[in-house]
Amino acid sequence: MGIFKWKQVFLGITALILLIFFPLAFPKPFPQHVMILVFMFGMMGAAWNIMGGYAGMFSFGQVAFFGIGAYTSSFLLITYQVNPWVGLIIGGLIAALVGAAIGYPCSNLRGHYFAIASIAFGEIVRTLFTNWKLIGAAEGLTLPMLDESVQNFIFHSSKLPYYYIMLVFLLLSLLVCYFVATSKMGYYFRAIKESHDVAKGLGINVVWYRLVAIMISAFLTAMAGTFYAQYILYLDPDSVLVLPISVQIVLISMLGGAGSVLGPVIGAVILMPISEVTRVMLGHKGTGIDMLIYGALITFISVYQPKGVWGLFTGMVKRSK
């Protein structure tokens, strides 16, 4: 066990060094853009994992938190000139509160019932934002072109700062996930995932711990939302509040391995480049062939390796011992 852990630490540090120097090896914008998306979806996968992988709440409504994060910071910046970093925190808090407010009445929903409710939640937020004049309704919001600086969270000349900021966000999310997984909270989440009855029988306040999982997940997902707004500098309901984003987050986590800290990142590393490259190469033909390839891959993995790539990997390590 000890050796396995040191190997993991070594692999982690190696991966980190490679990621830090990646932009030097690939200075063109497209590979950097793909990596930014890998990090961003890895982060959102990690956030989903806290809810879905550990606490057993299969949320298909993560896009609502993403959108709330993006809209909150952008609206505050445009209307009140609030610094985006402050907006990022406020957006995270609002997403957490909304998550708790929606999660509370859903406290007894499990499995596919929770999944259905979460889809409805995402769609309600999208419909609401599409008709909400104050925040631009269907036209969306265009962010002001401030001077390029870390303080302003905006960069025009290069994608590099975005790359490193997102890498830090991802590491932060993984740290949170690791902390959750190894703490009392993580054990309680897993008990709740198994069965509400068994959790209650162990003295666990199921409603409260589920809300905590939702709030952590919502906060991190909203952070990614603010990042996306600052990166693309334009947002509308069709770009930040659509169901496919939620589905993508779930797929990434499931593919990589839900319920393990690194699973969602591995999922993002595999799926995002495939998704982006097939979209760029084949998407413009309008045949949807990119989605076909994507779908076939997911079917294949869910049939042959339901524990995800991480499960495949740990299985191999176990067998080799």
Partner: protein, 246 residues
């Protein structure tokens, strides 16, 4: 009204639609006793269990634990107060190891996982599962799952332990082991309430037996008294058992 008794159930009624699963059930438990609840399937034993442990709330009546009214308390709050339970359909966390399962339970009294794991090791040594601590919950035999469930309940540090059919479906050797474990738990100062069908065990370990039939309490007394009661024989035990019992 406060009750000086350890556990007191006062006229508890629980209805599901038109069906009364429990009707005006009254009894009291003294500290340190082992009390068994017996009765045919559908008599309302598990419902009563669920009412006491906060999984259901009775339609009327009251439940007092150490003088405090717990009738409307949530299940997790009742567990914190010191009433732990197992389930008729055995419930363990399947993708956790035995040690992790018990540590999760021990976290009720600890904040740090490492401390809870130490406590869990002690509990497992007590219940005799320590050699299987690395096995996954899902990989255990039924007998070990039941033992694990008891270990988890014990790790929440209860004063009252409620076991719902922890001996059903065990082999003779396994049954012997469970009976010995229950006696050992009592010697450690716990009070036990047990729902059980295995009369051999009921006779051996119970200080008192409560008999339910169709949601009502029909008899309460020492095990020997109960098995000779006509009504109990008719409702539950059958003539054969009364003939062989002393």
């Amino acid at each position: 009204m406060k009750s000086p008794l350890f556990l007191e159930v006062q006229r508890v009624t629980k209805r599901f639609g038109g069906l009364s699963a429990n009707e005006n059930i009254d009894f009291a438990i003294k500290e340190g006793e082992i009390v068994s609840i017996i009765g045919p399937n559908g008599a309302g034993k598990t419902t009563l269990f669920n009412c006491i442990t906060g999984f259901y709330h009775p339609n009327s009546g009251k439940i007092f634990f150490r003088g405090e009214d717990i009738t409307r308390h949530r299940a997790d709050a009742i567990c914190k107060m010191g009433i732990a339970r197992t389930f008729q359909i055995v419930q363990v966390i399947s993708d956790m190891t035995v040690l992790e399962n018990v540590a999760t339970a021990a976290l009720l009294r600890y904040t740090r996982v490492a401390h809870a794991a130490e406590e869990a090791e002690e509990v497992l040594a007590f219940t005799g599962l320590i050699e299987k601590k690395e096995a996954l919950g899902t990989d255990l035999t039924m007998a070990d799952k039941k033992r694990l469930e008891v270990s988890m309940a014990l790790a929440t540090r209860p004063v009252l332990l409620m076991l719902d059919e922890s001996m059903a479906g065990l082999t003779r050797v396994e049954l012997r082991g469970m009976i010995d474990l229950i006696k050992k738990i009592q010697r450690n100062g716990l009070t036990l309430v047990i729902v059980e069908h295995v009369m051999e065990a009921v006779m051996e370990i119970s200080d008192r037996v409560i008999v339910l039939n169709s949601g009502k309490k029909i008899m309460e007394g020492a095990p020997q008294e109960v098995v000779q009661n006509k009504e109990v024989i008719q409702a539950y035990l059958g003539e054969k058992y009364s003939a062989v019992s002393p």
